[in-house]
């Protein structure tokens, strides 16, 4: 979906981080889902590497 497609759609936002941004969007009636965010894989580099390796399994 290109930028110009985005311009024609209703904005639907996923918010990762500061809750105040979610509140602001809600007050403008923008559909927004707040993620109860934690660093992916606990931010551990070795785990992130392992996970991304599994995304590259040969067919």
């Amino acid at each position: 979906m290109s930028v110009n497609d985005l311009f024609k759609q209703e904005l639907k936002v996923i918010n990762l981080g500061l809750k105040s941004f979610q509140n602001d969007l809600k007050s403008q009636e923008v559909t927004v889902v707040q993620v109860n965010w934690k660093p992916k894989a606990g931010g551990k580099k070795n785990m992130l590497d392992l996970l991304s390796k599994l995304n590259k399994v040969r067919k």
Partner: protein, 521 residues
């Protein structure tokens, strides 16, 4: 005083919540000093600096929360501090009541919200790139508010975004308005025909509010992040945004805002402007006027000027550089004379305290050539704030810069930092104070009130020395912002603050006053 540490393993709270929490806990009776934070290296060294580190810190990981406090144990215990911590959190979550489920990851959020089209990311920088990549892989546009993302990551992610035709606004992108919806720090402005691509947050805000004031509106406002037009990134998002606005039927005129790009990048943009069928206003703050005109685009001398030219060009009206004031010249002269007349002969110094980076930048560009101004964003290295001789001289500070936001919320969110600088940096030698007051989403609920209160305090302090001081401000906001432009102006004027209609005019007035002060000396 006893130093105690409390640790919550595998907890996570966002940085703003924690900083506000630190402040609340600081107020407790018996607490001398307290820091609440995640166990990141940054926070650990901050704790060390504050004398709040202990051997318990050795077990901390970035996924753990710590409360480190120096307390008078006869007045308060760590348990009471922990209870206050929980109460504060419960207060904020109770008020949400039966709130919707919050998915624990981007992936599950995408499942929970089919049709999601934009991911807004403000998590700590070291974790942000991974999330941006996942969002782009899922075909979603990204607004990346976080900073501390590496140049390599920014380049790689923007290349991916361009390849997929997606927006990757950032890192360090604070302002955007997509489909009329303000994102992060942005003002409520009417929808209209002017499209903006901006690499500078408050610069973009100022242009949009000036456009709104002049009666026109914004179609799309795309942010690119502060580094986009540097050589290594090559203006990828500026170009992506520019091209999308050219293709956008709702946009009739395009404004580009940035600090001067790397020459090769500027060249790429000029080439696109050359063949652009819509009028293009280019505000490369302090940039190459001739080169811009050569490709048929419209150069500018200030953010306000960019907005004025955009509106006039859109209306097919003639335009010229706006170098003056909205008020008639003779009235400006009168204002300057009266203001300078208030000062004693030893009140010769400027204190410019900005919350918006680009607005501070604009001040430096317009004032820094004529006056010697020490700053944390100096025009030349010799004028760096650290070189200030014995604390004497003109000072202009961008309080949103990293050195002032270590462990503290950005001054646009929380006025405390500037309030403290008013107290520490303004004294009997200060002649004129210059500030920006930024309204809109993301900003504090009453920035004008905070400035007014500080000015009242200053005047009380100075009147004891039989002195007064000149205060000049501009309000970056609209009548549609929750903080209300008119109410904010009234609040400032009630404290005898000279409110100008734009940052550029406020800076210009400051220049006149400084010149007037020199003459009077």
């Amino acid at each position: 005083m006893t130093l105690k540490t409390s640790i919550k393993r595998n907890a996570y709270y966002d940085s703003v919540t924690l900083m506000l929490l630190s402040r609340e806990l600081q107020k407790l009776e018996g607490v001398e000093d307290v820091l609440v934070g995640m166990g990141t290296d940054l926070n650990l060294s901050l704790a060390k600096d504050l004398g709040l580190a202990s051997s318990e810190f050795d077990t901390l990981t970035p996924n753990d929360l710590f409360i480190a406090a120096k307390m008078d144990e006869s007045q308060i215990t760590m348990k009471e501090i922990e209870d206050a911590f929980s109460d504060y959190l419960n207060k904020s979550s109770e008020s949400e009541g039966d709130e919707e489920y919050q998915p624990p990851s981007l992936r599950s959020a995408i499942q929970a919200l089919p049709g999601a089209n934009l991911v807004l990311i403000s998590v700590p920088g070291q974790y942000a790139a991974v999330e941006v990549e996942d969002a782009l892989d899922a075909g979603l546009h990204v607004m990346l508010f976080s900073d501390n993302v590496s140049v390599e990551d920014e380049l790689r992610l923007k290349q991916k975004a361009v390849e997929k035709g997606l927006l990757m606004m950032g890192p360090d992108c604070g302002t955007a308005i997509i489909n009329g919806k303000p994102l992060c720090f942005a003002n409520a402005v009417r929808r209209g025909k002017i499209g903006v691509v901006g690499a500078s947050g408050t610069g973009t805000q100022e242009v949009t509010v000036q456009v709104h004031k002049l009666g026109e509106g914004l179609s799309q406002v795309i942010g690119t992040g502060g580094r986009d037009l540097k050589e290594q990134i090559g203006g990828l998002m500026m170009i992506q945004g520019f091209e999308s606005l050219i293709a956008d039927p709702e946009t009739e005129l395009i404004v580009l805002i940035s600090k001067p790009p790397a020459p090769s990048v500027a060249e790429k943009i000029y080439q696109i402007a050359k063949t652009c069928p819509k009028p293009v206003v280019i505000d490369f703050i302090g940039g190459d006027k001739a080169a811009i005109e050569a490709v048929g685009a419209i150069p500018c001398i200030s953010l306000e000027d960019a907005a004025q030219k955009a509106v006039r060009a859109l209306r097919g009206q003639a335009y010229t550089d706006f170098t003056g004031f909205s008020l008639p010249e003779d009235e400006v002269d009168r204002i300057v004379e009266n203001a300078v007349g208030l000062l004693k002969s030893d009140q010769t110094e400027l204190r410019a305290l900005f919350t918006g980076g680009t607005l501070a930048d604009e001040a430096m560009k317009l004032l820094g050539n004529r006056h010697s101004i020490y700053s944390n964003i100096p025009l030349t290295p010799e004028m760096a704030i650290e070189n200030l001789p014995d604390g004497r001289g003109h000072i202009c500070l961008d309080l949103g810069e990293d050195q002032f936001t270590r462990g503290r919320p950005h001054p646009m969110i929380d006025p405390q930092t500037r309030t403290e600088f008013f107290r520490s940096h303004v004294d009997g030698r200060t002649g004129v104070i210059l500030v920006d007051v930024v309204l809109g989403f993301g900003s504090y609920q009453d920035p004008a009130g905070a400035v007014a209160a500080s000015v009242r305090e200053i005047r009380q302090r100075l009147s004891a020395q039989g002195k007064d001081v000149i205060v000049i401000a501009s309000v970056c906001g609209t009548d549609l912002d929750s903080q209300d432009l008119n109410r904010s102006i009234a609040t400032l004027e009630a404290e005898n603050i000279l409110v100008m209609p734009s940052n550029a005019q406020a800076v210009r007035l400051t220049d006149r006053v400084l010149q007037g002060m020199k003459k009077g000396a």
